[in-house]
């Protein structure tokens, strides 16, 4: 079987779908919905084949395609799966049908455009994950902005313009810096050996003086840190979530935020290993600040979506912590936590959408005693809450546990060598699990327990479509939590490669380019 065809098919399928939607006659909304769903399901099935055929014992790229694209600049159309992106591709494909089905009843305005944008963003996200060429990566990275911009701007809430503006301003700012840095990077490579390439592998091989690395990493890091987001670059996220329609929030929390952490893992850290190690204490500090700060802010919110938005900041802090630890367990934990957060936060936002469709408010104080009123809803909400808290047997535990263990593993030897900051940070991060329980249980308690209270009664409990979506999500959450070894097997070599790339010494003392 032509392996690479399959990955290309998975990637381009949404574009095919957009064409199909364009062709469909106006007004036939249900056909648009069915087409999108079928397409996402086919994509998921093909991705499942890819996942199953992904050989965990082979290092490097699989299902790879590499064709010259812009030959003059050395830009290739180069895509492939490796241990770092395989789970994220799987996550994106897995969430696709759920996102589409989740919007069936909520979106009634401009249905054609809406699903075209959902497919477009699916395409751009997958492209960002599978791209193995920096230019291609950047194109996909920027392309994601457009559909997200439209989804929030057209189908969003009252303050959607403010939110989109903030979102675009933040991300565009980051992107521009990344663009500058990547042009400089490629240009400097061109100056040293005359070759021009944007391929990741070629760029990994490039040596740079420490100071240059630091500047370039700073530029990349700013762009990625905005996306993650890390405190203090996070204030776009709560606003974007609150104003975005459910679909937007699910895509944002489910996949889009992982672009930031993935960017660090695939580009930022491996390209500039010495700078990464030099910045490691600062990065670790910011990660832990994100964990605690995000959790504290989640505690005092009055809007359900904002609680989950701030919890995302906190949870992605664990991902960053695992990545920066450079410990194998921590790295694997970080990857797992990315997937887990996608499922859990995605699920929570879907559920907020479900209750919003019934009661038209996201004000926590408007609710109470839903466990009595909506028993099925409450069971799922409780399960997702517990997964968010990181209760054992759920995916949330596996990721958080491993990321923290990795951070501790990395910190303890430093502590014994007399350098205590990492250990202090690891301990603070561990205590973050208490805060995590605090804000999520507080949310669940106010919504689910106490005397029954909800606007716009009566309304039905979850319908079959909603139940199916949640059952699928919850099954995945438990599957990963109970048997993380299966996904971890696929990522182990990728995690090791990342570890080795970042641990290698990469400076060039007498480099022709070093500072004058």
């Amino acid at each position: 079987m032509a392996d690479s065809t399959l990955l290309n098919l998975v990637l381009w399928l949404p574009v095919l779908g957009m064409a199909g939607i364009a062709v469909l006659p106006k007004g036939n909304d249900s056909a648009v919905r069915s087409l999108s769903l079928v397409l996402m399901l086919v994509q998921l099935a093909l991705t499942a084949v890819l996942y199953l055929h992904f050989d965990p014992n082979v290092s490097g790229l699989q299902f790879a395609t590499r064709r010259p694209w812009i030959a003059a600049w050395g830009v290739d159309y180069s895509i492939g799966l490796d241990g770092i992106n395989v789970l994220l591709v799987a996550l994106t494909a897995f969430l696709g049908p759920l996102v589409v089905a989740g919007a069936f009843s909520a979106i009634q305005k401009d249905v054609k455009l809406f699903y075209a944008m959902v497919l477009f963003i699916q395409f751009a996200m997958l492209g960002t994950f599978v791209a193995q060429d920096l230019f291609l990566f950047y194109v996909f990275w920027e392309a994601m902005l457009i559909p997200m911009f439209l989804i929030i701007g057209i189908w969003g809430g009252e303050r959607r313009i403010y939110a989109t503006l903030k979102f675009v301003l933040y991300t565009a700012f980051g992107s521009i810096l990344m663009l500058a840095a990547l042009i400089y990077l490629v240009y400097s490579m061109h100056r040293t050996n005359g070759a021009m390439s944007f391929g990741f592998t070629a760029l990994y091989a490039k040596s740079l003086p420490l100071e240059t690395q630091m500047w370039l990493l700073a530029a990349f890091a700013l762009s990625f840190a905005i996306k993650v987001p890390m405190v203090p670059l996070h204030t776009w996220l709560p606003d974007a979530h609150v104003e975005a329609p459910t679909t937007g929030s699910v895509i944002l929390a489910g996949v889009l935020l992982k672009m930031g952490t993935y960017g660090f893992m695939k580009l930022g850290f491996p390209l500039f290993p010495d700078a990464t190690r030099a910045f490691a204490p600062a990065l670790m500090t910011l990660s832990v600040i994100s964990i605690v700060y995000g959790a504290c802010l989640a505690l005092v919110q009055t809007d359900i979506k904002k609680v989950i938005a701030y919890s995302s900041i906190s949870h992605l802090g664990y991902v960053m912590l695992g990545l920066v630890s450079l410990d194998l367990v921590g790295i694997q934990g970080a990857i797992l936590q990315m997937v887990s957060h996608g499922l859990v936060a995605g699920g929570l936002f879907l559920m907020v959408g479900m209750i919003y469709e019934r009661c038209h408010t996201r004000d926590i104080a408007a609710y109470g005693g839903l466990a009595k009123l909506l028993p099925v809803f409450s069971v799922f909400f409780t399960i997702l809450t517990l997964a968010s808290i990181g209760l054992p047997t759920t995916s949330g535990f596996a990721g958080e546990f491993m990321a923290l263990l990795g951070a501790f593993n990395a910190a303890w030897p430093l502590h014994e060598a007399g350098y205590n900051l990492p250990l202090v940070l690891a301990v603070v991060a561990v205590s973050g699990v208490v805060l995590g329980a605090l804000y999520m249980l507080w949310l669940a308690q106010r919504m689910l327990f106490g005397p029954v209270k909800a606007p716009h009664q009566p309304f039905p409990d979850l319908n079959a479509r909603e139940r199916t979506i949640l059952i699928v999500l919850v099954a995945a959450i438990f599957a990963i939590g109970l048997y993380p070894q299966e996904p971890l097997r696929k990522t182990e070599l990728g995690a090791r490669e990342y570890q080795q790339l970042v641990l290698r010494t990469h400076t060039t003392a007498n480099h022709p380019e070093s500072d004058e």
């Binding site: 249980l441 308690q445 070894q485």
Partner: protein
Amino acid sequence: MNLLTVIVILPLVGFLLNGLLGPRLGKPFVSAVGCGLPILAFLAAVRCFLLVQGSGGEQPLVEVAYNWATFGDRSFDIAFYFDRLSAVMTLIVTGVGSLIHVYSTGYMKDDPSYARYFAYLNLFLFFMLLLVLGRSLLVCFVGWEGVGLASYLLIGFWFEDPEKAAAGKKAFITNRVGDAGFLLGLFLIYHTLGTLEMDRINSAFLAPTLPAVSASLVGILLFIGACGKSAQIPLHVWLPDAMAGPTPVSALIHAATMVTAGVYLVARLNGIYQHAPEASHVIAIVGAATAFFAASVAVVQTDIKKVLAYSTLSQLGYMFVALGVGAYGVAVFHLYTHAFFKACLFLGAGSVIHALGGEQDIRKMGGLAKKIPITFVTFAVATAAIAGIPPLAGFFSKDEILWFAFSSATGGSPLLWAIGSITALMTSFYMFRLLWLTFLTPSRMSQEVEHHVHESPLNMSGVLIVLAVLSAVGGFVKIPDFLEHVLPLARAGGELEHFEMPLLVFSVIVALTGLAGAIMVYGKGLAKGEVLAARFQGLHRLLSNKYYVDEIYEACLYRPLHWVSDRIFLGVGDRFLIDGSLNGMAALAQRAAGRLSRVETGSLQFYVLLAVGGAAGCLIWMWRHG
């Protein structure tokens, strides 16, 4: 057959069946599944116990269920380990657990959420069995957090009452604080030893060359976890509130099994604690402090369940005193006798509450002895047992604790013994006070309540009888000797042996003094007690308010956290600093844009343009200086 896995899985099946199908299939199905599977698990546990005994008792059963995760050459397995210590724990959990399930079929008979109740109860057993059967600290931790979840769900079982839901949350959060300590200890062990399997951890610490890590540090960290789960100072605050749950839950989770998990953990990892004198001291001190503190609060409580809750705290404190002086087997001995008499007391209290239509205030009881005789007799036996009246079960285990608190070569001291003895005096006093006020003083019930008082049905009273019998005779099984292979016996220091008999006699005198005191003050009713309370008003208020610990936590932890989050992080950080400067920049740009171009008025395009310009500037700068 993988018998250990079966033991663990059975209650999980019960949870799934009752949780998914229960509400549709009706009460007989729910009861059959809910009680049947725990009983099967108990039988399987008995079978395992016989297997271990058959092989001489020294060879543990080990089963690997599956590999959870592997990193290089280190792997985390889901494996089960069954030695005599696990046997004692498993038999208590499944045995007392099954009894309480049966009792619940009567107690919860009319509850609309009958299926949900049994599902949660089965879920609890599943996690508790993971906790006591897990070979590695990871599996133990999974069970550890899992029982916390079950406890949370069951405390808040009647969730429409906001106070009950809040109590569940408080329990979960307080436990989480302990769990953070547990996790750190676990990380440290994993980092140093590369394994989390508890038998290997013990042997690593008992090897001639000690591991390169401070046993006391590991010990303290894990003990923080134990403090949370076993409600020791300063993490004790959740247990009294946990009484909001249905009474059989209080008996099973908050008396007999879950709260003893911390004791189990320390006993199980005695290899660490044997080399951790500092940690052991801390444990003994915390245990003694909790025992004393809780007993003093129990003296003035007026809610029948609250008295028992503080009594549980206090008895757990005793167990930690035993652990702290190296008498691990004795701690498990008291755990075992306590499981019987405290379960019996709680279920007896449940029977009283059931009979009185929900009344829990002992000031409104009295004279129940003749009306509900089975409850009274069983309650009286269990009261005598906890008070330390020989030859009932509590006497043996408590006396051994006091003896080793005095004499142990590793940490025993007259002071510990004295605190323990004063606590024993208070224990006897408040338990007999409870007995008299509930059953023996003249009735203070309203006519209407009194009219409805009835003895509980057989599925409840039968369970009470079984537990009362066990509370009476359980002490004759010498658990410390039985566990000698797993838990080394404590040694009495120096030439203290000749103190043993006098101290034993003294314990008996203490218990009887407490009894006499209770009869003197409360023999006729509340009057004398109220006079005393009025005379020692300050002390009484301090004790009634539980030394104001909740209020202190509220003022020192919770409010500041909220204040900092709301005012500093959200108000100053997010709104003022970050968004403020962002808006400032935007406004600046807007003004500049207004000047530069009449067409655009601070629109999006302009900001992007500005950013591009800035980036281009950076780019040029970098090229020049690169």
